[in-house]
């Protein structure tokens, strides 16, 4: 079965690679720390962002209407999609209506969540991802492994090889500077020749009907400003109430994501270019369901900075693909079960509950608490293996009967001392790479009884 356990076990077969992956992401975590420490009011800023998002979620109905009204007044066409399928169809309809078969797309985790590329490819539409990292995973026919750093799992030699195969760069050249220059030329031609650009949305402002896209590469802008039709796709939780609130979120986003003080471009789209069509697709796809779960609705505050992934000691050592979901890492593990409990029942268990994710989160989502709560929900809903349930019942039975507990402990230690291979064998996952603790003759309880009574 493909799940986080099996996928991360495979990832860990190459320990050097795990070290490299871990260190690369840890370096980004350190850059984030450095950037945060430049802002003495950092913790207050996080609290404020969290409160603004709480206000947004608790008034989302009215903000959506306000945003729609203002966007329409700005000349933007607004679409509503209940799920991934409807989102994909809306995009496809716009393309067919305009007889467009080749488009460019900048980074949008929502379109990844909706599997838009796959949907359009089946309809014969050619989609070119223009974010360099996304283009690389697209050429490799893989999914992004990180929401901000899509090809963080790939080594430059592998990228050089891909570029050699698909873009005709010289074999063996793996110089990032050279490869980036080659991609620039390759993708500029796409920008110049394609009439439709799809982008994501980082923030949409109810008060003004505008939306903001943040990139470092400038690919969203190149695509959008050179297109005849710009389609911006967003989850309904991307709203914020007022333009002035952007000050809070733009201070947090890039610092949390990569340790930059701000992304190179924070582009505010308010009205379409003269002669251009500007569309916004507002997508639910399970978000209203999550909004109705009091324990989990906070997850909708997420601004997709990826800080929780960079800090997560499990993510760094299991890789983004081990989460088998568009959004990986701790935040992915609390969002995914809302989409499909059965499919993603493993993800909330892919954590030690260390809590580092909640501490770096710029909008203070209680990620590790939600992981714990998802575990309870998934178990109650019957998404646990039967053997685990049986074992847990035995454990609970033993631990609630002091006499039985003392007996089992004593017997267990006796067996470990006298017949060590009972535990020291390959079937015991603890023993595979770790020694068992040395079993003492006497438990503390036994010692205490003897010495103090």
């Amino acid at each position: 079965m493909v799940n986080h356990v099996s996928l991360s076990e495979t990832f860990n077969k190459d320990e050097e690679r795990v070290n490299w992956h871990d260190e690369t992401l840890w370096w980004i975590r350190q850059k984030r720390d450095k950037a945060a420490w430049q802002i003495p009011e950092w913790e207050e800023l996080r609290e404020m962002a969290s409160q603004i998002k709480m206000n947004t979620l608790s008034n989302l109905h009215d903000y959506l209407l306000q945003f729609e009204k203002n966007a329409l007044a700005n000349g933007i066409v607004v679409h509503w999609a209940a799920d991934a399928d409807e989102h994909n169809k809306i995009v496809y309809d716009i393309l067919t209506k305009n007889k467009v078969e080749r488009i460019v797309k900048s980074k949008s985790m929502l379109t990844e969540e909706c599997h838009l590329n796959h949907f359009l490819a089946e309809k014969g539409i050619d989609v070119i991802d223009t974010d360099l990292g996304e283009r690389i995973v697209q050429l490799a026919d893989e999914a992004p492994s990180h929401i901000v750093l899509p090809c963080i799992h790939k080594k430059k030699e592998e990228i050089g090889e891909l570029f050699h195969r698909f873009l005709g760069t010289p074999e063996g050249n793996a110089d990032p500077q050279f490869l980036t220059a080659a991609a620039r030329i390759h993708l500029r031609e796409k920008f110049m020749t394609r009439r439709v650009a799809i982008t994501g949305v980082n923030f949409a402002i109810a008060e003004t009907g505008e939306f903001v896209i943040c990139t470092n590469e400038g690919n969203a802008d190149m695509g959008a400003h050179l297109s005849d039709i710009h389609i911006a796709c967003m989850g309904i939780e991307k709203l914020i109430p007022q333009r002035t609130h952007l000050s809070v979120f733009l201070r947090l986003l890039a610092r949390s994501a990569t340790g930059q003080p701000v992304t190179t471009y924070s582009s505010h789209f308010s009205k379409p270019l003269a002669g251009q069509e500007l569309h916004i697709v507002l997508v639910d796809n399970g978000r209203t369901r999550q909004l109705g779960r009091p324990d989990f609705r906070n997850s909708l505050k997420c601004i997709r900075c990826g800080a929780c992934m960079n800090t997560c000691p499990v993510y760094r050592r299991s890789g983004g693909h081990s989460y088998h979901n568009a959004i990986s890492g701790p935040i992915g593990a609390i969002l995914a079960p809302n989409l499909d409990m059965k499919e993603y029942a493993d993800l909330p268990f892919a954590s030690t509950l260390c809590g580092s994710c909640s501490n770096v989160c710029p909008v203070k989502i209680d990620i590790h608490q939600q992981l714990y709560k998802w575990r309870q929900v998934l178990t109650k809903e019957g998404h646990s293996p039967a053997a685990k349930t049986a074992a847990m019942k035995v454990m609970a039975g033993t631990l609630s009967r002091p006499g039985l507990y003392r007996f089992a402990g004593k017997a267990g230690r006796w067996f470990m001392r006298n017949i060590p291979w009972l535990t020291n064998n390959r079937l015991n996952p603890w023993y595979k790479q770790r020694e068992m603790p040395a079993p003492p003759k006497e438990s503390f309880g036994e010692w205490f009884k003897k010495m103090r009574k």
Partner: protein, 193 residues
């Protein structure tokens, strides 16, 4: 219809209304020397600061630092030695531009960003499509932080506007920083005092 369905579900599932925070509730960082801080931060993110006394120095500077003979354009009036941009019918024709000179409304020290609106770009794609971007900025307009920035922007009406902080960049290949992803490979800010 999905619109009604979504709005109904939102209304049903959203929690009781929680208010917005009342103002900032903290004092955001303010720098003693915002111009120096702006220069330091911009340099740190790959931009370049050039202090000038008069706009007449701009053309000379650009021509010594970028390949002469290529297309240097500006949207500003009265910049001797630079071609005043005539907007082509198809913005794709802007592709050959080597250096584009625009003006920014203000700068922000904490992140080295400048605020530019559609009005001063002539075409939205200009600051992105050029190989090198040059920006004239009045140092007196430099603010310390983003809260001041949005206070200044207020309810300004624009079709498109952007904060631009340094040259276009990517680190998607093994986190090696490369300047010049899709947009300008360099950003030069002329501080006009």
């Amino acid at each position: 219809m999905s619109r009604e369905q979504i709005l109904k579900a939102v209304k049903q599932n959203q929690p009781d209304s929680e208010g917005l925070p009342d103002g900032l509730g903290f004092a955001p960082i303010v720098y003693d020397d915002p111009v120096q801080k702006f220069s330091d931060v911009l340099t740190g993110i790959g931009g370049k600061i050039v202090r000038i006394e008069s706009t007449t120095e701009i053309a000379d500077y650009l021509k010594t630092h970028f390949t002469e003979g290529d297309r240097f354009v500006t949207v500003l009036d009265n910049i001797p030695g630079l071609e005043k941009l005539q907007l082509p019918e198809d913005p794709r024709a802007l592709d050959g531009i080597e250096v584009a000179l625009i003006a920014a409304e203000f700068g922000v020290s904490e992140n080295g960003a400048v605020w530019v609106t559609e009005k001063v770009m002539r075409h939205r794609v200009l600051p992105f499509i050029c190989q090198h971007l040059a920006v004239v900025l009045d140092p007196a307009t430099i603010l310390s932080n983003m809260h001041q920035a949005y206070e200044k922007i207020g309810q300004e009406d624009y079709g498109f506007a952007a904060f631009i902080a340094g040259p276009s960049k990517t680190a998607d290949i093994e986190q090696s920083l490369v300047l010049g992803a899709h947009g300008p490979k360099t950003m030069t800010i002329f501080l006009l005092s």
